[in-house]
Amino acid sequence: MSSLQTALRRESGTLLKVEDLKTHFVTAGGIVRAVDGVSFSLQHGQRLGIVGESGCGKTVLSRSVMGLLPRRNVIRTGSVYFEERELTSMSLRERQTIWGAEMAMIFQDPMTSLNPVMKIGKQLSEPLRIHLGSSRENARQIVYKLLQDVGIPEPEKRFDQYAHELSGGMRQRVMIAMALACGPSVLFADEPTTALDVTVQAQILDLIEYQCRERQMSLVLVTHDLGVVAGHTDQIIVMYAGRIVEVAPTPMLFSNMKMPYTEALFQSIPKLEEPSHTRLTTIGGRPPNLISPPDGCRFSPRCPYTTDKCIKEEPELQKVGVDHYFACHHPVGSDRWKEVQVTLGRRTGGR
């Protein structure tokens, strides 16, 4: 009975809680506010997507949650609770016992994330031997199983191969197997499919999702591709310039987006029903310089709905529905939004 209860508690409840996390890099040019006050929480078994343009702080966010960033010239404040344990104040030695065993990460580029001079099998057995202390032979058997789980045929053969002998998709599968090796309870996938082509992309995402469900693992999927998060997450965080601008459960975000930035991102996805040679809708300009972000709303220089209020006052996150928050003065559907829609004379969108 009690074991059932613990099992139940493990499957529900908060696994990871991030409170007002700030990661600033001290550079010669000034302080770069890569992550500037981000709070969110992750439930057991939940799949969370973090979306944003390049340079919005997604990768830095995931790495600073794990605590993988270098110490030098980095200011990190706020707190990260992992199963009620504070990660930010933990010593490196303690964190090393959590890394791999409880939290694991899949990196963007499988080309560079595997050691070129180490055999695949050896790299895969590494975490097993570190955390579980398995013997060489035992680890070998687990690795075969892992390789099979991630859909790699002939695991016995792959075991003795080097990274350059595998294709990109295979390498990413190996990376996934490596992350899964010790059965972590949360998996960070930092743009796991960016370096792969589209057909392989779908396979890899399905694999990650399947493994998460199978192992009752939480997932944090970092990507710039709304299409990727749409089918594979429960909740989405939209980030812009180091801040969260909208949080919503996945279906809610797509049906009822509030933040103009989310809207703009959504519009920049090419659509099937459009005739060919339709110009892609883009978001004009670039993300702001994070050394001196604009006053007020950080999206205001690029937003079609900007008013004086946006430039003066920074919007706070406000609640609109269950688990749905956004930070905007003139959200989609407001009077200002309608007004601009009319003047633009087209559906919606950037400049």
């Binding site: 030098r72 560079t112 994330s113 050691n115 070129p116 180490m118 490596m178």
Partner: protein, 330 residues
């Protein structure tokens, strides 16, 4: 309905394209030369012309008798050097020209002495570079991976050593050990020379390894290993060292060649292993005063030294090619 009628060429017709490597022949020639030098260095005692330094010779009496009974054997040119006049008169049955490399002032056969020299020179070179790699490599790995204060301290020390003129430093070190062991410079052994050369070789190796380590420490696979909970020691030894290895080995081989020459330079200044024990450097140094009359005393060991160093370098290049790490592309 159209049958494809592509003819499949028979296996015999297809000429399998062979993978051709650049500089294969030079590689083999240098390998053969090195094997020859090493074998003759190891087996120097069994060489046919065993008329070398009496210290090395098991039958000392016979050796000294030989030197005493053949005073006129000294400074005979090599047997093939028809153009070289003997500077000493030919008396009795003393040969006009002698041996492959000629003889030196004491009447010792130069070929045998050169092979004995190979024994010492190669030993000094190999030992120095081995210890140099062990110490310098470790320092470089630690400095490059840990960074911060550790790196600063190690790097500063290396910079200080690099700031000294290399030869002066070596002279200083050999001199230091000389005075501390014995006042007689006669019994100088191989040890102080090896120590001097090790100290000379540490800074460049440490720097090379440090730079390489820094590059690899930034790589994602190191971050991946870290994110799986690997500790620093494990990352250095299992992730970074194998990647740094090829550069280190290649540099070590070239470095060994440099150290053999450096030993020669020390010997030229009379600071290497003392008189009866031959090294190449010492032999070249010994013959320099006779260069006008008996050129072969200096020239023959020089040629061997030159060819050996060249072979080591060429082979180092070949090894570099062989060890090239295949990065995962596309």
């Amino acid at each position: 309905m159209s049958e494809s009628t592509v003819e499949i060429p028979e296996a015999a017709d297809v000429r399998k394209p062979r993978f051709r490597q650049r500089g294969r022949i030079t590689k083999w020639i240098s390998a053969i030369w090195l094997v020859f030098i090493v074998v003759s260095a190891v087996g120097a005692s069994f060489l046919p012309y065993v008329k070398h330094s009496c210290d090395q010779f098991s039958d000392k009496d016979k050796c000294s008798t030989h030197v005493k009974t053949n005073p006129l054997l000294s400074e005979r040119p090599p047997s093939w050097a028809f153009f070289s006049d003997t500077t000493r008169p030919v008396v009795g049955d003393a040969p006009e020209r002698y041996g492959l490399f000629g003889t030196d002032t004491n009447g010792y056969d130069l070929f045998s002495r050169t092979m004995f020299g190979a024994r010492n020179s190669l030993l000094i070179g190999a030992m120095s570079i081995l210890f140099g790699i062990l110490i310098g490599g470790t320092l470089g790995l630690v400095a490059g991976y840990l960074g911060k204060r550790v790196d600063k301290v190690i790097d500063t020390i290396m910079n200080i050593f690099l700031a000294f003129p290399a030869l002066l430093l070596a002279i200083f070190i050999v001199g230091f050990f000389d005075s501390s062991t014995t006042s007689e410079a006669q019994s100088r052994s191989i040890v102080p020379i090896v120590i001097a050369l090790v100290i000379l070789s540490i800074p460049p190796i440490a720097r090379l390894v440090r730079a390489n380590t820094m590059v690899y420490a930034q790589r994602e696979f190191v971050l991946a290993a870290r994110s799986l909970g690997a500790k620093s020691g494990r990352i250095i030894i299992r992730e970074i060292l194998p990647n740094v290895m090829p550069a280190m080995v290649t540099f070590a081989i070239t470095g060994m060649a440099i150290l053999i020459v450096a030993e020669g330079a020390l010997a030229y200044l009379g600071l290497s292993v003392t008189a009866p024990t031959p090294t190449w450097g010492a032999m070249i140094f010994g013959g320099q005063t006779k260069l006008e009359t008996a050129w072969w005393i200096s020239i023959m060991p020089s040629i061997v030294l030159f060819l050996t160093v060249l072979s080591i370098n060429l082979l180092g290049d070949a090894l570099n090619e062989k060890f090239r790490i295949r990065e995962a592309i596309g």
